[in-house]
């Protein structure tokens, strides 16, 4: 692999919804962590509440990589959990294929900030219901209604712990991104 082309997807969702597990299941390597400092510039564009007064706020992002043949490398980035770290999201979604927004049906509200962000930023995204313990507690149609997700956005059932399930969710995202790209529509 001399000069592989890097591509990227983002895994978003609320705190402890399984983002890092998802990253790990997809990755060829143990997930790595990169940290970013909040800069002055990001303070002005983000609603940070109390965080603005704290010097040197640091946010950690987990990520993994998976080789797709010899010519492509897919990076999978987990978003920081808390809303106040949205300043990193612009960088995370920049040039990304799109995002998988993970949902825990017991805490549906937690995914609203991620969905709002992806919609507003025009990032192709799919919703992945993380079926903890392999149990699907709510039907995807109910989740669609509860989250007010338009019909053209796929809602899939996944399991962050299992490579095949995670891969299928990513395949769903790539297909959705292709549909968006070919119609020229906004996600």
């Amino acid at each position: 692999m001399s000069n592989p082309i890097p591509v990227k997807i983002v895994v978003a969702g609320g705190f402890a919804v399984g983002k890092t597990t998802f990253v790990g299941s997809m990755s060829d390597i143990d997930p790595l962590t990169t940290e970013a400092n909040m800069t002055k510039a990001s303070e002005t564009v983000d609603n940070l509440g109390d965080a603005t007064t704290k010097k040197g706020t640091t946010v950690a992002m987990d990520f993994g990589r998976v080789a797709l043949g010899d010519e492509l490398v897919l990076y999978v980035f987990g978003t920081p959990g808390q809303d106040r770290f949205h300043f990193m999201w612009d960088e995370l979604v920049r040039g990304a294929i799109g995002a998988v927004v993970l949902v825990d049906t017991n805490r549906l509200d937690d995914c609203f900030p991620a969905i709002d962000y992806m919609e507003q930023a025009g990032v192709p995204f799919v919703v992945g219901i993380n079926a903890f313990d392999g149990v699907l507690r709510h039907h995807p149609d109910d989740v669609r209604e509860a989250l007010d997700i338009p019909d053209y956005i796929p809602i899939m059932v996944t399991d962050a712990r299992h490579k095949a399930a995670v891969r299928d969710a990513v395949i769903g995202l790539v297909r959705h991104a292709m549909a968006m790209a070919s119609t020229g529509a906004q996600a």
Binding site: I5, P6, T34, Y75, F77, I97
Partner: protein, 121 residues
């Protein structure tokens, strides 16, 4: 010092010391931009900074900006400044998506290749 601050002080020197206080680089680097040591980068001068030498060693095989930050245990901005310097001095070569700016999403042809790759996993 809060526990959060204590926790992130994994590096022994203050991180921006190695960038001489700089937090930005003129080189456009995305998280996933890959860097690889050039021929000159494989044989850097003895005067080169320790951290820069570490980057060149790990970049003998292409790796991303985010990986450099993770392996070096420095914040992303610090990694970008150090990488930017090495790109400008010709020690590192970058490659991102071919023929497109880092702001653009992958085109349909590239997405098809990604899909093919995923289906063989």
């Amino acid at each position: 010092m809060t526990s959060e601050e204590t926790e992130r002080s994994a590096f022994t020197v203050r991180p921006y010391t190695v960038t001489r206080g700089r937090t930005r680089t003129d080189v456009d680097l995305a998280l996933e931009t890959m860097v690889k040591a050039s021929e000159t980068g494989m044989n850097p001068p003895g005067s080169i900074m320790h951290e820069s030498r570490q980057i060149l060693t790990m970049a003998e095989n292409a790796l991303s900006v985010a990986e450099v930050s993770a392996h070096l245990k420095v914040p992303l901005q610090v990694a970008k400044v150090l990488i930017g310097d090495l790109v400008e001095s010709g020690h590192l070569a970058t490659h991102a998506l071919t023929d497109s700016s880092p702001d653009e999403r992958p085109d349909l042809r590239l997405l098809e290749r990604v899909l093919d790759g995923l289906q063989t996993l």
